[in-house]
Amino acid sequence: MSTLHVLYVDDEPDIREIAAMALELDPGFEVRTAASGFAALDLLKSGGWRAEVILLDLMMPGLDGHALLGEVRKIHGCATTPVIFVTARTQAADIDRLIAQGATAVITKPFDPMLLAKQVRAILDL
């Protein structure tokens, strides 16, 4: 089984750490994190590492989740990369809007760290 490259973007350092730990419970995942939308874009544009799935927070200072998703889609090679929002704002209307915008799925915060990797696998149908 090949390794799945995951990018996790969140401005909260604690949550980044926990999410990375939770995702890496799955030995097939290789996780990188970014502390802001800009940091995420830098990483994706550098071309050295290719994300196969991006998990991101919606409410972030600077570049928020919506804006980041738009920017990601413009990057060569990222037009179809699955993007999963991990957010505390999960009204049905919000989810619908995110999906309409091109998000693959929405995971509600607080997430169950023991299930996070499994959820991602289920969403990607792996």
């Binding site: 909260e12 604690d14 949550i15 926990i18 505390a88 704002r89 049905a92 169950d112 760290p113 023991m114």
Partner: protein
């Protein structure tokens, strides 16, 4: 307060009148009877006087005769006989008159007979003496006179006349006595009657006076009460508007006039919509609560927008309460300017939203860390440490639920929560909710189930919100149930509403707790909170959601015997077209109704080999039940069944909209009943023993008939009851789609082409015949159309209309007959 003086008063007036009339009639009778009596007495006196005068006249005539005769005898001058002759003539007539006039008693009559005889004898003696004088000379005559016979007769006559006069006098005297007695009695009677009448009138006047005095006192009291209440009414800080049953403004207080900027005259008798959008929804919810079990004494508060005279919109809180008077339910609306409060609320809302987000972020870290620790991501934990982590994690989860619930109820109460209302099939909703809770039920060893629910029951609701409501009620029921206890979800239609019930076998709800069970953070006792792990907001959220569905949530419970939570929701008609919630089945499912179990098993095996699923029932009743709760693509039906024959079962199935078009393949050992079965519409008639390839062909035809050839009948009529009956009538002909408006009919035409249209003319959104244009524009031209209406047509209808049936004259049977004819014609 209700005044009921009038009926009593009317009753006593009638009694007075009756008594008055009786006394009056009595007086009149007495007076007129007295007059008759007087007249009779007067007649008697006249008669009596006449009698006396007549007898005296007779006597004096006899004396005249005697005087004339004596003159002649003394003078022998015949001229002196003239008075004698004259007297004789008049005596004759006088005697006749007397004999007619005598009508008194026997004594008087006898006396008269004697008088008459004596007169006769006297006259004979006088005549005899005259004859003696003429034949034998005056001497002989004198001797005759001296004999004394004539004197004796005269004495007799005198005596009898005296007797008659005496008798008459006695009779008159008796009459007079009787008459004066009668007069006395009559006078007493008349006087008495007059006294009674006067008494009655006096009593009546007295009573009337007293009543008027009482009314005046009452009026003063009422005026004072009204004045007192008017002052209270006008000094209230909030606007108070009362509405009559039709929704017009009846009264409005000073604060109301200030708030809305109108004068009282401008508002009275105007519709309340001038001031408030007390729209359909608010009124419906209010009226629903009015019918519900809730205590309405505290009114019902809604956040609304009011319009002032200058056109400014003001946010207001409106408390509604009902006042039942003799002419219906009046509504009292207390309206409070909420502009300031709304600003504060908006601040609060945004504060809560921010805070809850800010709370959730650290909670995510806490819950995540604890989850990883418990999962062993930080290495194996000693048992005691693990227990502590579990406690921390469980409470973290509870904090998250609490924040979610607070946000939820906040949204609902502030009216910002949006509901996505769609037609929902109750059966489907109930099943899904139960499935979602089956895990919890299993964990707690609770027997959770759904009773059969009529697939025709539909409600308008937000699917996720309904799931939230049922999930909450079911999880509560499961949590309070003992091990092995039963939790049941059931539904029963009650007219235009449905009662959805969740029944448990838990300890029940204490009486004192029931009134506040639906208020936030209300829990019966502290232990509930700890053991249930709930937030205390679940039922208030349930109530908010249900009320936004124009429903009522309530509870029945007998402590110690479980509880029944119920939702009372308005029903809607099943939506047009196929049931959208029923997934397309890949494997056709066939119901086998066959009482011979061996044959049934064989058929079952054969169907399986064809790739079909099948269920077996052995009686007509069981078949009906299976078709009611399950969904089948076709039925194999044995015509001979133990409890009923197959044809009767078919008739019953055709009458039910659900199974009216079910493809049925009949099976029988003989050809008996074949014609009757064919009348009910069967796909095929298979004689036993059944050949496999024939069965397969029949089943294929049956399944195709279901998907392809069932004709579509579009019935457009705003009378829902009629639509229901027509559906049953036309059911056997194909699939019936009933809609109640032109718009809905057009929506159907966008998707499907009907084979027959039954059209009512008077529809809520326009004339039915305006649909004819849409029908003509359909690909393949207009389908045959029957106009079925209560109105008479003034002009002949255009081409696609094949018939016009007038509702009052044509019954549904003739409609069904015609529809069948047109469909068969179309099929060719």
């Amino acid at each position: 307060m209700k005044l009921t003086v009038w009926p009593v008063h009317t009753r006593s007036a009638v009694a007075y009148f009756a008594m008055f009339a009786a006394a009056f009639v009595l007086t009149a009778v007495a007076v007129s009877y007295g007059q008759m009596h007087e007249a009779a007495l007067r007649r008697d006196i006249v008669q009596s006087n006449e009698m006396s005068a007549n007898t005296l006249a007779l006597f004096s005539l006899v004396q005249d005769a005697e005087t004339g005769q004596r003159g002649y005898l003394l003078t022998q001058d015949r001229r002196l006989l003239r008075p004698y002759d004259g007297a004789l003539r008049r005596i004759r007539s006088e005697r006749d008159r007397l004999s007619l006039a005598v009508d008194g008693d026997a004594a008087e009559r006898a006396s008269f007979v004697r008088l008459d005889a004596a007169v006769g004898q006297k006259l004979a003696e006088l005549a005899e003496t005259v004859a003696l004088n003429d034949q034998k000379g005056p001497k002989a005559a004198r001797a005759q006179v001296l004999s004394g016979r004539g004197v004796a007769y005269m004495d007799t006559i005198r005596n009898e006349i005296r007797e008659i006069t005496r008798l008459e006098d006695a009779r008159l005297a008796a009459r007079h006595r009787a008459s004066s007695r009668f007069r006395l009695v009559r006078n007493i009677a008349v006087l008495g009657s007059i006294l009674v009448i006067a008494g009655i009138m006096g009593l009546f006047l007295w009573r009337d006076d007293r009543r008027q005095a009482a009314q005046a006192a009452l009026l003063i009291q009422l005026r004072e009460t009204a004045a007192r209440q008017k002052i209270i009414f006008d000094s209230a800080v909030d606007a108070i508007v009362t509405l009559n049953p039709s929704g017009s403004i009846e009264t409005i207080n000073a604060a109301g006039l200030r708030l809305f900027g109108y004068t009282e005259e401008e508002l009275l008798r105007r519709d309340v919509s001038l001031l408030l959008d007390l729209g359909h929804e608010a009124r419906a919810v209010f009226l629903t609560r009015l019918q519900g079990p809730d205590d309405l004494s505290t009114g019902f508060v809604r956040a609304l927008k009011a319009r002032t005279k200058s056109g400014v919109e003001v946010p207001v809180d409106v408390a509604l309460s009902a006042m039942t008077l003799s002419d219906g339910v009046h509504v009292v609306a207390i309206v409070r300017d909420a502009s300031q409060r709304r600003e504060v609320e908006a601040l609060k809302d945004s504060f809560i939203a921010t805070v809850s987000h800010e709370l959730r972020t650290p909670l995510t870290s806490i819950a995540g860390s604890l989850g990883l620790l418990r999962g062993g991501a930080g290495g194996a934990l000693p048992a005691r440490a693990m227990r502590l982590v579990e406690i921390a994690e469980a409470n973290g989860a509870r904090l998250v639920r609490l924040i979610n619930d607070i946000l939820d109820i906040e949204k609902m109460q502030s009216g910002t929560a949006l509901f996505d209302l769609k037609p929902l099939q109750l059966r489907d909703v109930a099943r899904t909710a139960c499935d979602a809770m089956s895990g919890l039920a299993f964990e707690r060893s609770v027997d959770l189930g759904v009773d059969p629910i009529d697939p025709e029951l539909w409600v308008l609701g937000d699917h996720d919100r309904m799931m939230q409501v049922l999930g909450n009620l079911l999880s509560n029921a499961i949590k309070v149930s003992p091990h092995g206890g039963k939790v049941r979800l059931s539904a029963e239609a009650k007219g235009a509403r449905v009662l959805l019930k969740i029944t448990d076998e838990g300890p029940g709800v204490p009486l004192e707790f029931r009134s506040r069970i639906f208020t936030p953070f209300a829990q019966a006792n502290e232990t509930d909170r700890r053991s249930g792990g709930g937030t205390g907001l679940g039922l208030s959220i349930v109530r908010e959601i249900v009320e936004r569905h124009s429903g009522v949530v309530g509870l029945e419970s007998e402590p110690g015997h479980g509880a029944v939570f119920y939702l009372d929701l308005p029903l809607i008609h099943a939506p047009v077209g196929q049931d959208p919630t029923e997934p397309e089945r890949a494997i056709p499912s066939i119901l086998i109704c066959e009482d011979d179990e061996l044959i049934a098993e064989v058929l079952n095996g054969q169907l399986e080999s064809f790739g079909y699923e099948s269920d077996i029932v052995t009686t007509a009743n069981a078949a009906r039940h299976a078709l009611h709760i399950g969904s089948y693509d076709a039925m194999l039906l044995d015509i001979r069944l133990p409890d009923s024959d197959g044809v009767t079962l078919m008739q019953a199935l055709r009458a039910s909209p659900n199974t009216a078009a079910l493809p049925i393949i009949a099976m029988s050992g003989s050809a008996e009943h074949k014609a009757r079965a064919e009348e009910q519409g069967i796909i095929d008639w298979l004689e036993k023993p059944i050949r496999m390839e024939r069965l397969e062909r029949a089943l294929k035809a049956a399944l195709e008939s279901r998907h392809v050839t069932a004709p579509l009948i579009l019935h457009v009529d705003d009378d829902r009851d009629l639509a229901e009956v027509a559906r049953a009538r036309l059911g056997g002909l194909g699939e019936i789609v009933s809609v109640t408006s032109l718009a809905a009919a057009r929506a159907v035409l966008m998707l499907r082409r009907p084979d027959l249209v039954v059209l009512d003319l008077g529809l809520p959104d326009g004339a039915g015949d305006s649909l004819l244009g849409d029908l003509a524009a359909l690909p393949g031209g207009a389908p045959p159309t029957i106009i079925y209406t209560a109105q008479e047509l003034s002009t002949p209808p255009p081409a696609p209309v094949r018939a016009v049936l007038v509702k009052s004259r044509s019954d549904l049977r003739s409609l069904a007959r015609l529809a069948r004819k047109l469909i068969e014609e179309k099929r060719g």
